[in-house]
Symmetry: D2
Subunit: 156 residues, 4 copies
């Protein structure tokens, strides 16, 4: 199973979010699944670090053409060169996405997942409502363990 | 100026939303600006119809390779073949976006615009908040006339 | 009709190639067609300059997110952010392509056009043959006037 | 190391080309490298079959959103939804490409690899020359064993 992890890429995240991402990555690897992400720092790097600690495999879908863009815990690096449009690839390729916190890039991935039918599990992430009453299609959980369990269970 | 119009592509929209989109398209054309959109039906088609009625120019950024995918009010058709990733092109190429209602695709475009710095004017569209308190960056207005005026004013 | 012009983007092209591109752009505009290109310098800029001199309309499909990347003769700028993958958009969106000289980027566009069924008219450009005997699908002409006439005639 | 294999996707290839692709895939796996390809049938499927027979790992970069598009020998499936533009991802993500035969899609990948600086090893594939004398940047070899050895040696 290919499990995607999405969240903010910047370095100044709270230690809570970083710990959560690491535990999610560790859980994905322990359960024997491939971790797919955007390959950058922040939540993505923390999840990959957790996955590698547990002996898992990680894949980063990068924005540019240069592998040095990826964090140091990636086993496989896809250099797409398509910029932020690579978010669609993460949202589509994952059998299920785990959203951890996140800013506008993460919101775009949740929206694409909802559009494409990829299930999403969210921890401390976006909430949204349209004027016509639509809301984000997402299973909301409280911690890393629930996130991984729910993700495996809600697989498309 | 290149003004983007985003919103749902399906045919069963309320007549209010359709009328709003037509008026927005008409306003963009009357003010002499190029209308950019995803080229499909629904809000996109209504906006293009309004723009053409006022003698404007319309450009559709399509998902596939076949121009027949576009609505009948497009002057220029870009067949990208990149699927939903074309949403990024609409969000990036517009000097300002006007969001009218919309579902998950529209939300992805607002999120990308917020990520890329493209100003967004919203009418009866999404509201969102992240766990860390971020909200959608958007000028909210009530009608088509305000939408067009605000869009021209808030240009990047 | 949307006519694409493809060719090298660097500045140190021969004056012959630059003159050819200008004449092609001028011809496209004189015949009342939209010129689509990659929006950069070199052949693209020369073609746009020729088109603007003749009162035409030009559209650049740029690689990045910043409009300043485009040459100064563009009326419409699509900032795709998808890098070299934008070559597919040029090859697909044009009703017919005119290839003028060109390096590897141009070859990728001819190959995509051949794959997608977009007719190609070539002036002093690539020649290729596969091991199984396939060759580039292209009408070869000798000057700008023939290029524009042939392009309009061979429209898909 | 990530080794890309490119070639035609149709089913009516000669048995020679299919055998060659299988041997190349087998060689890549035997040497412990990841095989990246477009994930379709033909040369891509044969290479993946060879790699799996030798216990290797295979990754397909698909054109659409549906994993059923991929051949049955893929371990990892990236569903990009970006159509033929996914050729750029294959050409960019591979540390080195092995081109086996191939039609216009393959030519686009060789051209992108040449543009981006990805080394290419070719067996019975395209030959091309531009008007200004440029040729395809490619190490040409005669069989699968040489192809794999040369690929590993010419790594960027």
């Amino acid at each position: 199973m290919q499990i995607g992890v999405i969240g903010a890429g910047d370095h100044d995240l709270t230690s809570d979010i970083i710990a959560l991402a690491e535990q999610v990555g560790e859980g994905i690897a322990t359960e024997g699944h491939l971790l797919i992400c955007g390959g950058h720092s922040g939540v993505m790097e923390a999840a990959c670090r957790g996955a590698k600690r547990a002996g898992g495999t990680t894949l980063g879908v990068l924005t540019g053409y240069d592998k040095s863009e990826g964090n140091e815990y990636l086993d496989i690096q896809l250099t797409t060169g398509i910029g932020h449009a690579r978010n669609v690839i993460v949202a589509s390729s994952a059998d299920v996405l785990i959203a951890i916190g996140g800013s506008y890039g993460t919101l775009s991935e949740i929206a694409f997942a909802n559009r494409l039918g990829t299930p999403v599990v969210g921890v401390r992430t976006w909430d949204a409502e349209s004027d016509s009453g639509e809301t984000l299609l997402m299973e909301r959980v409280d911690d890393a363990e629930q996130a991984v369990k729910t993700a495996i269970f809600t697989k498309r």
